[in-house]
């Protein structure tokens, strides 16, 4: 059973607006969370991460929010740009399972002009 869930397979957003991608997890042992971005015909690339000791991490246009009590994290992209059109994967790891990142199914983001 998937421990990391991205329930929205796709998201369409206008250029300049905010993109919000959601991710839920079930394993309370997860203590580190990452977002990866994947373009067609390329491998995923690391985007941003957050440790469980924080509730927010920001890097330029990208911000990740973590709500541990709800076992929920979200990625905000502001403002969205056409180059942000890609598949975004949420991933999580537990301190006692090093190396075994658990990935969500991904969300396809399309940014329209």
């Amino acid at each position: 059973d998937q421990q990391v869930k991205q329930n929205s397979p796709s998201l369409s957003v206008q250029e300049g607006r905010i993109s919000i991608l959601n991710c839920d997890y079930t394993n309370s042992m997860f203590d580190y969370f990452l977002w990866y971005k994947k373009y067609p015909a390329e491998g995923p690339t690391f985007l941003i991460s957050i440790s469980s000791i924080k509730d927010k991490n920001e890097d330029g246009r990208f911000t990740v929010f973590l709500n541990k009590s709800a076992k929920h994290l979200s990625l905000h992209i502001v403002p969205s740009q056409p180059g942000d059109s890609a598949v975004y994967f949420c991933a999580a790891s537990a301190f006692d399972s090093w190396g075994k990142l658990q990935f969500g199914a991904g969300t396809q983001v399309v940014v329209t002009p």
Binding site: Q2, V4, Q6, P9, Y32, L34, Y36, A41, E42, G43, P44, T45, F46, S49, F89, A91, S93, W98, G99, K100, L101, Q102, F103, G104, A105, G106
Partner: protein, 114 residues
């Protein structure tokens, strides 16, 4: 430019064939990983290796084996390919002690088993 290179972009094999997927990284990373990506399931870890000749099972190792004879090379082996192994295979690497578990991925090999 540092990279993880997978030897084939596309592969078509027959059921029962032995299949080798090769991966090479030039970043001197200790850790290497094999994932498969399937629609609706995301990336699932097959095997990983944290040192030469060392290997650990991931979440879905059945039907696969791996080989790591040199630090830079990590091979995934399908002993007898089956149609349910049709998938996108992604190799990744990371440095030893990388606390953030940031992985560097190759471009993937799309394997079709007929």
């Amino acid at each position: 430019d540092v990279k993880v290179t997978q030897s084939s972009r596309y592969l078509v094999k027959r059921t029962g064939e032995k299949v080798f997927l090769e991966c090479v990284q030039d970043m001197d990373h200790e850790n290497m990983f094999w994932y498969r990506q399937d629609p609706g399931l995301g990336l699932r870890l097959i095997y990983f290796s944290y040192d030469v000749k060392m290997k650990e099972k991931g979440d879905i190792p059945e039907g696969y084996s791996v080989s790591r004879e040199k630090k830079e090379r990590f091979s995934l082996i399908l002993e007898s390919a089956s149609t349910n192994q049709t998938s996108m295979y992604l190799c990744a690497s990371s440095p030893q002690g990388g606390s953030d578990e940031k992985l560097f991925f190759g471009s993937g090999t799309q394997l079709s088993v007929l």
